[in-house]
């Protein structure tokens, strides 16, 4: 049963990816394919007074320039535009009318026979605006912040306790706006077929979300549109909501009754969603022994004028640390920018960064080792609902991580450790994320030759869904993994939500188990009918699929091969589809945890910071695939290095424009910035969360990393940098 689950199985789609056989949304061919290029607004707020497309239309090879004035019909109700993960508000509608809501907004689509012609003609579109007053600066507008629903209910009187606390730390941490920058550009190929139906190849994390959205926006029947996204070159949350290029490509195809491809440029992708800039104010009040009396955490975040995007930045302390008094609040400032969106560990990456820097500052004030402080405040229950966890091996993460890192050799005094010209700093932080699971359906088609096709609408955004689905199916069906083929990310396949929130591993794995059980049931029925069957009268619960056979669990020598069962039953294939729903468990909290340890070396005179070692100890239930799992965590650590030291979307608020909208000037870590990364998966058996004890790994890898690095920078230099990223000018004396 466990030949593959829990092993370092290589990616089943690895060969297709490295040989180029794997096709991405912008690569699907079509007869007579046209190419669209987006014209963007260059002001942040106002209306289009005049849009002159005549010069563009005169370019040979240009078929049309679609604008708000000449486009095919689009839905006029917000409900149609509101996708499965839309926040409250009125979603953005590309080319809907003459209003400009953010800089970089698409205002026209030039459609031409080839991409270069479209791109050239786009430069000939003349736009005149009536510009309105605007604001894009969160810090300048923070006075206008409005409270959202409280993420966690307050307990006790946090303000008064904090004010009287024996040891108190209060500070503000600023996390800048960040963009996902997935390697694959956002792209849609809308293929028009002769009877007017559309096949949409789209870069997305949820094909059924896009399908429903397009049907609503274009008033189409479900059968009129099919959405597929077989491979996704990274998305990290930016593809959870349908992006505007899918609307534009579909508009183009409908307008011209031809197939149309729209590929955004890297620069244009900065007009999509992003991790919102936040100002995070954390207050911690402690007794002199290090136990907490009060925790307060207020986040002020940017959102657009038209939607209230808010995530749980605050409230993580409620789960991590025991404190009788707490207060959390999340405030939004509406600005003339596009709506933010989820980005790896949304809310937690930012909020826990602030919390864990604050905990480090408190440990300094208390003269207590940072791990010891966290153990003093350790909570075996989620305090917001006062619930025990399905499992929580965070203590073990601290212990194993500290041991691997060599934490006991740390001299706590800042600037006390050095290596030649470099100051050495060791810092640590806790990470936390949710262990979510969603209803997913899977279809299994088992053929008598012992081959199974497993299909589901879920996406694989590069995380390894194809591989874990194949692993679980191989084990559940008792077949070699080579006999399993997996189809994903097609809206016509069995239902799945968007791939996000770290929920897809547990959700898809259990859907595979559920469908496999239906297959086993059918095989038992067929095998039981064989004269003198070794399975005659066997209970379903006493059967397993193993080694190409169905066998008694209590005695697997009593077995019937799949081929025999199906031949006797007179069937060539068994097709079973099953929707798996997880039982509601209101008695437990469900979380993943980590302890992150970072070593930095800072050139004392030049301020150059290097992250020379990271140890990340993860407690996330059973790890389905230790190879892809380790890659996930390493990716999260590398991104955490970027969040700590490099990443920042820079805006000039005089123009309301992002000024570093490219990956030359928007810095992410390169190979030379990455040194040793040690990933430890702590054993965390979990009998409550689900049958396999799976929690998911997508987000937890980044959480805590920026704080561990910032705390290490403090330990190295004695400088507490609370405004991210920590660039060298901030640590120069």
């Amino acid at each position: 049963m466990n030949a593959y689950i829990g092993t370092p199985t290589s990616r089943v789609d690895g060969r297709a990816k490295v040989t180029g056989a794997a096709k991405y949304a912008g690569e699907f061919p079509a007869d007579g394919l046209l190419h669209g290029f987006v014209v963007e607004a260059t002001i942040p707020c106002g209306r289009i007074a005049r849009l002159d497309t005549s010069a563009a239309l005169q370019v040979k090879g240009v078929l049309d320039v679609l604008t708000h004035a000449n486009r095919p019909p689009l839905a006029d109700k917000d409900e149609a535009w509101r996708d499965e993960v839309a926040p409250e508000g009125s979603p953005f509608r590309p080319l809907y009318d003459d209003t400009v809501k953010f800089n970089g907004q698409p205002i026209a689509l030039v459609v031409a026979e080839d991409w270069e012609t479209a791109k050239f003609a786009a430069t000939l579109v003349r736009v005149e605006y009536e510009q309105r007053g605007f604001a894009t600066d969160l810090e300048g507008e923070r006075g206008k912040a409005a409270e959202m629903d409280k993420p966690h209910k307050p307990r006790g009187d946090a303000a008064a306790t904090l004010a009287q606390a024996r040891v108190r730390h209060e500070a503000e941490y600023v996390i800048p706006t960040e963009h996902h920058n997935p390697m694959e550009l956002y792209a849609t190929t809308a293929i028009w077929d002769s009877n007017g139906k559309l096949t949409i190849y789209d870069k997305t994390q949820g094909v059924q979300n896009v399908h429903k959205f397009l049907c609503g926006v274009f008033d189409k029947k479900p059968d009129d549109i099919r959405v597929a996204s077989p491979y996704v070159g990274g998305a990290f949350g930016s593809g959870l909501r349908p992006q505007y290029q899918v609307v534009l490509a579909t508009l183009g195809a409908l307008a011209l009754k031809r197939s149309v491809r729209v590929v955004l440029t890297r620069q244009q992708m900065y007009g999509l969603g992003y991790r919102p800039m936040t100002i995070e104010r954390v207050g911690l009040g402690a007794k002199s022994d290090g136990t907490l009396d009060a925790v307060t955490h207020e986040a002020i975040a940017v959102t657009s004028r038209y939607e209230d995007f808010a995530r749980n930045d605050t409230g993580w302390a409620e789960q991590l640390y025991s404190s009788p008094n707490s207060r959390f609040s999340h405030k939004l400032v509406h600005l003339d920018v596009s709506t933010p969106c989820d980005m790896r560990a949304p809310g937690a990456a930012s909020g826990v960064c602030a919390l864990e820097c604050a905990m480090d500052e408190l440990s300094v004030a208390l003269k207590l080792d940072p791990i010891e402080l966290r153990l003093k405040c350790y909570s075996d229950r989620d305090q917001s609902e006062n619930l025990p966890y399905t499992s929580k091996q965070l203590r073990e993460c601290y212990a194993r991580g500290a041991d691997a890192f060599g934490w006991s050799r740390r001299n706590p005094a800042p600037r006390s450790m050095r290596d030649g010209k470099e100051l050495v700093g060791w810092g640590m932080a806790t990470g936390v994320w949710e262990a979510l699971q969603m209803p997913v359906a899977v279809r299994i088609v088992l053929t008598s030759n012992g081959h199974a096709e497993v299909s589901c609408a879920a996406s694989d955004i590069g995380t390894g869904t194809y591989t874990i689905v194949a692993q679980v199916a191989a084990d559940a069906l008792g077949l070699p993994i080579e006999n399993i083929s997996v189809r994903l990310a097609d809206s016509t396949l069995p239902q799945a939500p968007v791939e996000g929130g770290s929920w897809m591993a547990a959700s898809s794995a259990h859907a595979v188990l559920a469908a496999a059980e239906e297959v086993r049931k059918e095989l038992l029925r067929l095998a039981g009918k064989i004269h003198g069957s070794p399975l005659a009268g066997a209970e379903l619960a006493d059967t397993v699929l193993t080694d190409g056979s169905i066998a008694r669990a209590s005695d697997n020598r009593r077995a019937v091969s799949i081929a025999d069962a199906m031949r006797h039953g007179g069937v060539e294939r068994i097709e079973k589809e099953k929707l798996n729903q997880f039982g509601e468990d209101k008695k437990h909290a469900r979380n993943t945890h980590s302890a992150v340890f970072a070593e930095v070396k800072v050139d004392e005179l030049l301020g150059v910071i290097r992250v020379t070692r990271v140890v990340s100890a993860i407690a996330a239930g059973r790890i389905l695939n230790t190879k892809t799992g380790r890659s996930q965590i390493m990716g999260g650590v590398v991104w955490g290095i970027g969040m700590a030291l490099h990443e920042e979307t820079v805006m000039d608020h005089r123009f309301g424009r992002i000024m570093n909208a490219n990956i030359a000037e928007y810095h992410i870590p390169v190979n030379a910035d990455v040194h040793d990364i040690d990933v430890i998966f702590v054993d965390e058996p979990d009998a409550h969360i689900n049958a396999l004890g799976i929690k998911g790994l997508g987000e937890i890898g980044i959480v805590g990393v920026p704080a561990a690095i910032a705390n290490a920078v403090y330990h190295a230099t004695g400088k507490r940098i609370r405004r991210f990223p920590i660039t060298l000018d901030k640590v120069l004396d």
């Binding site: 150059v608 290097r610 424009r657």
Partner: protein, 338 residues
């Protein structure tokens, strides 16, 4: 990107003729910067004159001991050329500090000298920029200027030259060979790039129908005591906040010859003959390096976000001179600052 004509030059004279015939024409070799700028509609050439097949790819020693480098030698070929590695390791090091391996493979020596600034406003046609549109205003002056110049600036422009290679060439006293309608001429690399003054749209003193044919390195290569140190926001593939090329000739611990040039701080590679003269005859000590740094940075002016560059440059100069004096040059392959 605009539509443009394409022509392939058959020889240098043909390239000059084609340039003279079309004032909107641009030469293209590796295209690593020009194509980017065309994609952003910053450069809109009416014609691209492809010079990539011209026979300007030789690296040759001349009778007087200098070295002549063809304008089309790829940056990576130059960095790994045995004569450069042996005689001018400062130049090899500076080249390897720049861009990425893929870009260095494409980029030519002549093209490297023609790189335009990376000022974010220069790149964004929706914002004013005197370099891109004369007299439209400088957005960086009171805007995002963390990466901008602290030396030789003007009221019109505070952009920097992004090249690493040019910084080493400036320190080494390289000459630029140029061909034009009236024949060939040679100018010092330090006179090739201009300060912005009130004509920031003019980056170099190359005439409108002139072409760089090569670079000449004088015999003195400073191969014993040199270092190129680049300080940037990540360890690779980022433009310099400050870079320093340092080259010394030592007699014992006494400095008999000194060269220094700075990148990332001005509209051109920044040298100060006064600072170099001050080092000659002195002992190679941090105090003397520090005094030379002060002289090199004389007249520095800062804006709201780039004030840190002055002290950073001062320290980087001292560090680089120390590396040079100790014959422990900064490695461009290690993931650390020595």
């Amino acid at each position: 990107m605009n539509n443009f004509q394409y022509a392939r030059a058959t020889d240098v004279a043909d390239a000059i003729r084609l340039l003279a015939a079309d004032p909107g024409a641009k030469l293209i070799a590796g295209g690593t910067n020009l194509i980017d700028l065309m994609k952003e509609n910053v450069e809109r050439p009416s014609r691209l004159i492809d010079i990539s097949r011209l026979p300007l790819r030789k690296v040759e020693e001349t009778a007087d001991g200098s070295l002549r480098i063809g304008a089309l030698v790829p940056n990576s070929d130059l960095a790994y050329h045995p004569l450069i590695e042996q005689r001018y390791p400062l130049l090899a090091s500076a080249i390897l500090a720049g861009a990425s391996a893929q870009l260095r493979n494409m980029a030519s020596v002549g093209g490297n000298l023609m790189q335009r600034t990376r000022c974010v406003y220069f790149y964004d046609t929706a914002t004013p920029c005197n370099k891109r549109r004369p007299s439209s205003g400088c957005s960086a002056m009171d805007g995002l200027n963390r990466n901008h110049a602290i030396l030789g600036t003007s009221a019109a422009c505070i952009a920097t030259n992004p090249s690493d290679m040019s910084v080493a060439l400036a320190a080494l006293g390289a000459l630029v060979h140029i061909a034009g309608r009236s024949g060939e001429r040679t100018i010092a690399l330090t006179d090739f790039h201009r300060l912005p003054g009130d004509t920031p749209h003019v980056d170099t003193n190359l005439g409108t129908s002139e072409i760089i044919t090569g670079i000449e390195l004088p015999a003195r290569g400073f191969a014993q005591n040199y270092s190129y140190l680049k300080i940037r926001d990540r360890m690779s593939y980022a433009f310099a906040l400050v870079s320093v090329a340092a080259a010394l000739e030592l007699e014992g611990n006494a400095i008999s010859g000194a060269r220094m040039a700075l990148g990332g701080v001005a509209h051109k590679p920044w040298r100060s003959l006064e600072a170099e003269a001050a080092l000659r005859g002195q002992a190679a000590t941090p105090d003397h390096f520090s005094r030379a740094a002060d002289l090199l940075l004389q007249g520095a002016t800062t804006r709201s976000h780039n004030g840190f560059k002055v002290e950073l440059a001062r320290r980087a100069i001292v560090r680089t001179l120390t590396q040079a004096a100790n014959a422990t040059p900064q490695s461009q392959a290690h993931k650390k600052i020595a």
